[in-house]
Every structure is written in structure tokens, then in C-alpha cells.
């Protein structure tokens, strides 16, 4: 089976405003799918319907054939949907390694253990995961001392702890320098390819989107207005009008032409 996720006719309204309207898409195994659009287009609402934080008014989401609508977010996570946050969310009073260990402890349902030493559990696996994102040398540092780019990589390791089939990444490169953005997305792409994880991500940095997304969906006012590869989206006049603009702020070649 090649399709991992099928979203069909997703709709959600908030107080009369249609945040997402009849939105459908498929996601293949190992695919890197970008969801873009202006602020308030419904990207976050859409994400929250995929991971169970919001119940759609209509529509269905199937992960490997299993319906996700109506299932609690925690259960959806256990079924193999991981996520990273726009603004990093980590346990700041713990070390980097302990952060990953916590994800493993939860995955193995050991949270109610009152007597073991938490720091001795699943150490090896946690170290492997840190190695995957090249964070092993930071393992014993306090999470609160990390640079932002490193926190992002730590989040990626946490999100991979339960061997997800689908990763939802909300603006994964927000707040990072261009070089770090490229590095983080290259790393993510490599892991995705190796572990056959599928990724849906939202992003405002078009350099990142065009460089890495296999396919792009464009939302505007809750509706899907375009779908295609980077060059198709770039040329689409409707997308240019509502979202991309003249391209001066993200592309060097365009900028030279307009100057």
C-alpha cells in the first residue's frame, strides 16, 4: 500500500467563519508535502484536524486505512503520528537526553513507574536517536542552554522516538537562520528517505519549500487553490497574487530582475 494518509472533504468552521472548506488530499509513503498559504488560510486548523486536537465538522482522515477522526490526540500519536511545533516545546528543566528518554518512557507506558531511576531507562535508544540528528555531543546539556537550531533538532529526535509513519511539522524552520534552515530540512529529508516516514509541513520560507517539498498544496481562505510541484506553484498566477507576491523577498534571481 503506497498511500499513507487520505484526508477527505475536511471542513471546519469557527463561529460562522469557514476555516477549512472541503479539503482533500493524499499522502504517499516517504513523501514530503508542503502546505502553504497566507496567515489565517487554515493551515493550522488543518494540522490540528490531522493530529486529533480539533474534530472536523465534516470529512475523514485515514492513516493506513484506519479512521482518525474522533480518536484522541494521544491515541493518534501512538498510532504513529509525530509532530514538531512552530515554537519549540521541550522540557526545559531536563537534559537533552532526558527529553528523548521521556518520549520513550511514555511510549513504553512506564510513566507511572514510581521506583526506577528515570535517567537509566532506554538510554541506548535515546542516544541512537540523538545520533540520528547529530546531537549526541549535547546529550548531557541542560535543554534550557541549547541554541534554537539545536532545540529544533532535539524536537525532531523526540518526534522520531516512536517510529512514526507520519510526521507533522508546523513551520519547522521558523526563527532559524537561512543556513540552519537548509541544514535542518536536508537532515529531515534524509531521515524521511531512510526511514520511509511521510511528512506534512507548513512553511513561510519559500526557499525551503521549493528546495525540499515533493509536492505543494496551497490553501487560501480555507480552500485548496492549487496543488503541484515547486515550479508549477511558482508560475501559478493565483498563488502569486494571494501569497507569493513578486518573489523579491525570497529569490535572488527575481530580485536582480526587479532591481
Amino acid at each position: 500500500m503506497n498511500t499513507v494518509l487520505e484526508a477527505r472533504n475536511l471542513s471546519k468552521a469557527f463561529g460562522g467563519i469557514q476555516a477549512v472548506d472541503d479539503f482533500s488530499f493524499d499522502l504517499r509513503r516517504g513523501e514530503f508535502l508542503a502546505l502553504i498559504g497566507p496567515n489565517g488560510a487554515g493551515k493550522t486548523t488543518c494540522f490540528n484536524m490531522l493530529n486529533g486536537y480539533l474534530k472536523p465538522d465534516r470529512g475523514s482522515v485515514r492513516l493506513q486505512g484506519k479512521e482518525l477522526v474522533g480518536i484522541r490526540p494521544r491515541k493518534i500519536w501512538r498510532m504513529g503520528v509525530g509532530r514538531t511545533f512552530q515554537i519549540t516545546e521541550t522540557f526545559l528543566s531536563m537534559t537533552v537526553l532526558e527529553n528523548v528518554q521521556m518520549a520513550l518512557i511514555s511510549y513504553h507506558r512506564r510513566c507511572f513507574d514510581l521506583f526506577s531511576r528515570a535517567t537509566r531507562l532506554y538510554r541506548d535508544r535515546a542516544e541512537q536517536l540523538l545520533e540520528l540528528v547529530s546531537m549526541q555531543e549535547h546529550a548531557s546539556r541542560a535543554c534550557s542552554e541549547l541554541a534554537y537550531g539545536d532545540l529544533k533538532r532535539l524536537e525532531l529526535a523526540i518526534a522520531l522516538a516512536h517510529d512514526p509513519v507520519l510526521l507533522l511539522m508546523d513551520e519547522p524552520t521558523a526563527g532559524m537562520a537561512p543556513s540552519e534552515r537548509v541544514a535542518l530540512m536536508a537532515l529531515t529529508a534524509e531521515i524521511v528517505a531512510r526511514q520511509q516516514v511521510s511528512v506534512v509541513f507548513t512553511e513561510h520560507d519559500m526557499d525551503v519549500v521549493f528546495a525540499h517539498a515533493h509536492r505543494i498544496l496551497v490553501l487560501n481562505r480555507g480552500e485548496l487553490i492549487a496543488e503541484g510541484t515547486g515550479s508549477e506553484i511558482r508560475e501559478n498566477p493565483m498563488v502569486q497574487e494571494v501569497y507569493l507576491g513578486g518573489g523579491a523577498v525570497f529569490e535572488a534571481e527575481n530580485e536582480a530582475a526587479s532591481a
Binding site: P73, E89, L114, F115
Partner: protein
């Protein structure tokens, strides 16, 4: 019919003065994020000042209202003084510090009032011109009540206009949301805060001053009103003045009718209403999400397991402690049991706050349940001491399980307030339910079994229980469960995203801390031979907070150090006449000068020594 209408009017009149104090509290919290425990003291001082001024002037109706206003204005000035000398220094401290600091201010006020006006209750003058009663539907309604009913909405309107229609009001509302940004836009926030505090203090003073024709002026006014004012603010939504009015009316009117059916209900009714409202609307009737947290705190350092050297020092200290009854006299042995009980209590509170991130203003509830359960089991059910030591903490755990279910639905200040409410409900029940709890007289004659009746034997029994409890919670802090709780405290979003049921874990953490507090209460009951309602009172809860704070909240050893030092200080200070002033000053000194407590101070000392050594060798 007329009778019920009269009850309604009485309720509305009560609502006005409650609204005045609660609105001040709410405004102050909204802008400064400080939960002002001393707000009841401002109310009390307002009443005393109005009493003195109105009696001294004796100018009829004009003199009465002038006296009331001048009293409120003086309270406003006192508020300015407090704000400038104390609160300004703790705006960036965690909410726990602020609460304890304002409790210190409350203690100082209590003794100052006692010194100025004496211990006797004072009967205030009636309001000239409004001292009669009107007949409405056949029932006599005091004219003064009608005046109060009008004053409440008038003040509400005034505050509303102030906040909506003046530039100052817009600035205050902006500061409620982002203080730093308001300063960066050119507003001198120091004065904005001072002015807000003065307004809040003025309203509290006015509330107190307006009460003098209706209530005797006494030294108990502060604590009796503050609990209710908290409840009103929380029901209405922290920071919402309209909410405060609606909540004041709701509580007062409900109360006016409820006492007809069940006269004892007035102590617990506000807290029950609050529990219901918060369960349905976690931010109160008019509160906004995000209003529940004070200043953001700096992240803690990761926990470290104790090294070998530390273990050796710990064992040595414990050995010395275990041998001490052989050396010291019986009197000191009893004091050492007090220290152990306090330590266990403080450690359980620290587990809940430091590890679990749930600030409790009512942890004494579970201490008290443990103590009362033990007393009732031994005295009324005839269960032996040893089974009781296991069963009574289980009862406390069950109590924590019950109240915790409500509490963990909330967070921040709201959670803290609900824990306070739970403790007050229990206190009210023990106080009123005389046939089982003995009411104010408590339960006496709760002695240990014969074999453990000597002070030395009981010391060792307490030693085993307390050290066992402390060891257990320490172990739990390092366990996956403890880490899970800390994780939820750090980031609930992240915890949920890795599949943790954060509410359920917090609930269990709450219960565990409650059960251990119950064990402390059980040991306490047998060591004193009696239990009284104060074992679940506000003061007992605050004692626990002070111990944790004194020791330092960011260290596992904090509560142990804090409890030891606290009991010693208390033992010495309470022998003095004006001990509250001294205690209040000690609290303020700790909060202002050593915010990371004793453990933090020791850590800093070691860090400095290490730095010096490094510098020496390099």
C-alpha cells in the same frame, strides 16, 4: 413574598462591600499579577480608620461620608507605601513568593492594628440620615442597605468609565497584557503600577469603611474577608471588574437564601460555588485564558543524583539525628518530632509544587484530614494506632483524590485558589460538624498506643514514618513518574504530544502528595494527643509554603532545610508578644533578599568556592 424580597435586598447590600474589596484585588492582580493576601488587611484598616475618623469628627451625615472617604484615601496612601517599598521588588518573582510576601505584610498589619486600636471589638456609629428602615412589601429594610445597593453599581460604572474612556484606563488594560511592551512605548510603568495599587487599596479601604454601620470592627476582619474576596475574584475571572461584581452578587444572594434552608452553609457556600464555576469555566465567568499565570519563571536545572560524598554526609546527619534523643531532653525530643512532621509536610508540598508545578494554597487540607482521620479512628472507631498510621493517610489520599479531580482541571493561580477553597470547605465542615469533629473544641485524648507512649519511643516511630515518607517522595522525584510530572510542568503541550495524559498524571501526583501530607498529619495528631480545626486552616497551609520557600523551591533538599529552620524560628518567636511583626519581617527579608532560599544560598556559596579554587589552580 415580601420576606424573600427582603432577603434579596440584604444579599445585594452584602454584595456591594464584597464587590469593593474584590474589585480592588482583581484590578491589582490584572496589572501587577500579584495575588495580594494583604488586601483583607487594607479592608480592615479602612474600617478602623473610618471608625476613628467618624467618631472623632461627629459632624452628622456630612462627617460620616467625609470620614469614610478620608479613611479610604488614607488606605490608598498606605497602599502606595506598600507598593513602593515591597511590591516593586517582587514583580518579577514567581507567584508563590508574592503570595508569601503579602502574607508577611498581613502579619505586620495584624500587630500594628492590635497596637493602635487594641484587641477589643469596636461597634461603629450608624450612618446619620440613613439609620432608619423603610418598609418594602411589609418588611423593614435598613436605609443604609439601600444606599449600599446603589453604591456597588455606581462604583462599577465609575471603574468601567475609567478603564474604557480614559487614556489611563487604556494604558492599564494594555499593561495587564504586556507590561514590558507598554514601557517600551513610553509609559512609566512604575507609576502605572503604583496608581493601580493605590486604586485597589482605596477600593478595599472604602469597602471596609462602608461596613462600620453594619459590622463590628475587629481584628478578624482581614482573614475572614480575604478568603471570600479571593473566591469572588476567581469566580468572576482574575482581572475582570465586571466579573467581580457579578460574582459578588451571585455569592451574596445565593447565601442570603441558602442560610434560610441550612444556616451553617455560609462558611462553605462560596467555595462550593467556586468549585462548580471553575470546573465548568476554568478561567472564571469573565476571565480570559492565559490570565492565570504570574511572571514567567526561569527554567530549573536538571536534577542530579546525589554523589557519594553527599550520601555520606546525609547518612552521617541522619545518624546524628537518630541518636539525638539519647543526648537531649524530652522537651527537645518533642520539638524534634515537630521538626520531622513539618519536614514531611513541606516535602509533600514541595513534591506537588516543585515537581508537579501545582502551587497549592491549601495543602493543610490533607494534613488536617490525616490528623482528624487518625483521631476519629482511634477515639470513635477504636482502631489501634499502627493500623491507623496506614489507614489515616489513605483517607487523606482519598480526600486529595476527590478535590484533586477538580483542581487539576485548572492551572496557575486558579488552581492555587481552588486548593485554598477546598481547604476552607473542609475547615468549615470540621468547625461546624460538632458531633463528629468536636467543632472548635477539637478532639482530645488521641494518644499513641501504650508501648509507644514515651517521648523517646514515639520519636523513633515518627523517625521511621517521616524518613520513610521523605525517602519515598525523593525516590519518586527521580522516577519516571516524577519526571513525567516535571515534564508536564515544563510543557504540557510537549507532554501531551508524546502521549502523556497530563491531567491524569497531575491528578495522581496531587493524590500522592495529599496522602503523604496525611501521614504527617497522623504523626502530628498522636504526638500532640489532640487535633483542632487550625490543622487545616490557612495559616497551616501558609506555614508549609514558607518552609518550602525558606528552604528554596528549586532544590530537593530545600523543604528539609526550610522546615527545620522554620520550626526553630517559630518555637522562639511565638513566645514574644508581638511575634507576628517579627515573623512578617523575617518573611519579607527572605523573599526580598534570598529568593532562592537556604538551599539556593548554599549552592551559590559552593559555586563561589569552586570558582575561587579553580581560579587558584589556574
Amino acid at each position: 413574598m415580601g420576606f424573600y424580597f427582603a432577603q434579596l435586598l440584604t444579599g445585594l447590600a452584602n454584595a456591594s462591600s464584597l464587590f469593593l474589596i474584590a474589585s480592588g484585588l482583581s484590578i491589582i492582580f490584572g496589572v501587577t499579577r500579584i495575588v495580594n493576601f494583604a488586601h483583607g488587611s487594607l479592608y480592615m484598616v479602612g474600617a478602623y480608620l473610618a471608625y476613628t475618623l467618624v467618631s472623632a469628627m461627629d459632624l452628622g451625615a456630612f462627617g460620616f461620608w467625609l470620614g469614610v472617604l478620608v479613611a479610604a484615601a488614607i488606605v490608598g496612601l498606605i497602599g502606595l507605601l506598600i507598593e513602593m517599598t515591597i511590591l516593586r521588588r517582587i514583580y518579577h518573582a514567581p507567584e508563590l513568593f508574592q503570595l508569601v510576601a503579602t502574607f508577611g505584610v498581613l502579619l505586620i498589619f495584624q500587630d500594628a492594628t492590635l497596637a493602635i486600636w487594641g484587641a477589643q471589638d469596636l461597634l461603629g456609629p450608624r450612618a446619620p440620615g440613613l439609620d432608619g428602615a423603610l418598609r418594602i412589601m411589609g418588611e423593614p429594610i435598613p436605609e443604609y442597605d439601600l444606599a449600599l445597593i446603589a453604591i456597588g453599581p455606581l462604583v462599577l460604572l465609575g471603574i468601567w468609565l475609567l478603564f474604557r474612556k480614559t487614556r489611563w484606563g487604556v494604558l492599564v488594560r494594555a499593561a495587564t497584557q504586556d507590561r514590558e511592551m507598554v514601557a517600551a512605548l513610553g509609559v512609566n510603568q512604575a507609576w502605572l503600577f503604583s496608581a493601580t495599587f493605590v486604586l485597589g487599596a482605596f477600593l478595599a479601604g472604602l469597602g471596609g469603611a462602608l461596613q462600620i454601620p453594619r459590622e463590628t470592627v475587629s481584628l478578624q476582619m482581614d482573614l475572614s474577608v480575604i478568603g471570600e474576596a479571593f473566591v469572588i475574584v476567581v469566580i468572576g475571572g482574575m482581572g475582570s471588574v465586571t466579573g467581580a461584581y457579578v460574582a459578588a452578587v451571585l455569592i451574596s444572594v445565593l447565601n442570603a437564601f441558602a442560610i434560610l434552608i441550612f444556616p451553617q452553609v455560609s462558611i462553605v457556600l462560596p467555595f462550593i460555588v467556586m468549585a462548580i464555576v471553575l470546573t465548568l469555566r476554568p478561567h472564571g465567568l469573565f476571565g480570559a485564558a492565559g490570565s492565570e499565570h504570574g511572571a514567567p519563571t526561569e527554567p530549573e536545572q536538571p536534577l542530579r543524583l546525589m554523589g557519594e560524598k553527599g550520601m555520606m554526609i546525609l547518612f552521617a546527619a541522619m545518624a546524628v539525628f537518630a541518636l539525638s534523643p539519647v543526648i537531649v531532653g524530652d522537651f527537645t525530643t518533642v520539638l524534634l518530632v515537630d521538626v520531622m512532621v513539618a519536614t514531611l509536610f513541606a516535602v509533600s508540598l514541595h513534591f506537588m509544587m516543585g515537581i508537579g508545578g501545582m502551587v497549592s494554597f491549601g495543602h493543610a487540607a490533607y494534613f488536617g484530614i490525616g490528623a482528624y482521620a487518625a483521631a476519629m479512628m482511634v477515639k470513635q472507631l477504636g482502631i489501634g494506632m499502627l493500623p491507623t498510621i496506614f489507614l489515616a493517610p489513605a483517607v487523606a489520599g482519598a480526600g486529595a483524590l476527590f478535590f484533586g479531580w477538580f483542581c487539576v482541571r485548572l492551572s496557575g493561580v486558579y488552581l492555587a485558589m481552588l486548593t485554598l477553597a477546598a481547604a476552607q470547605i473542609l475547615w468549615g465542615i470540621t468547625f461546624q460538624w460538632q458531633q463528629f469533629t468536636g467543632g472548635d473544641d477539637g478532639i482530645v485524648g488521641v494518644w499513641p498506643a501504650g508501648w509507644a507512649s514515651s517521648d523517646k519511643v514515639y520519636f523513633y516511630l515518627a523517625f521511621v514514618c517521616c524518613i520513610g515518607g521523605i525517602w519515598f517522595l525523593r525516590r519518586a522525584a527521580h522516577s519516571p513518574f516524577g519526571y513525567t510530572l516535571r515534564g508536564i510542568r515544563d510543557s504540557r503541550t510537549r507532554a501531551e504530544a508524546i502521549g502523556v495524559d497530563s491531567r491524569f498524571h497531575q491528578w495522581m501526583g496531587f493524590t500522592l502528595a495529599g496522602a503523604v501530607a496525611g501521614l504527617a498529619g497522623t504523626i502530628f495528631a498522636f504526638s500532640k494527643g489532640s487535633v483542632f480545626p487550625d490543622s487545616l486552616g490557612i495559616a497551616q497551609s501558609i506555614d508549609g509554603l514558607i518552609m518550602v520557600l525558606l528552604g528554596g523551591i528549586h532544590a530537593l533538599a530545600g523543604p528539609i532545610l526550610g522546615a527545620g529552620v522554620f520550626v526553630m524560628i517559630e518555637d522562639w518567636v511565638t513566645r514574644l508578644a508581638y511575634w507576628r511583626v517579627i515573623f512578617g519581617i523575617i518573611i519579607l527579608v527572605v523573599v526580598l533578599l534570598a529568593p532562592d532560599g537556604i538551599a539556593g544560598g548554599i549552592n551559590r556559596l559552593f559555586a563561589r568556592i569552586r570558582a575561587v579554587r579553580k581560579g587558584g589552580t589556574a
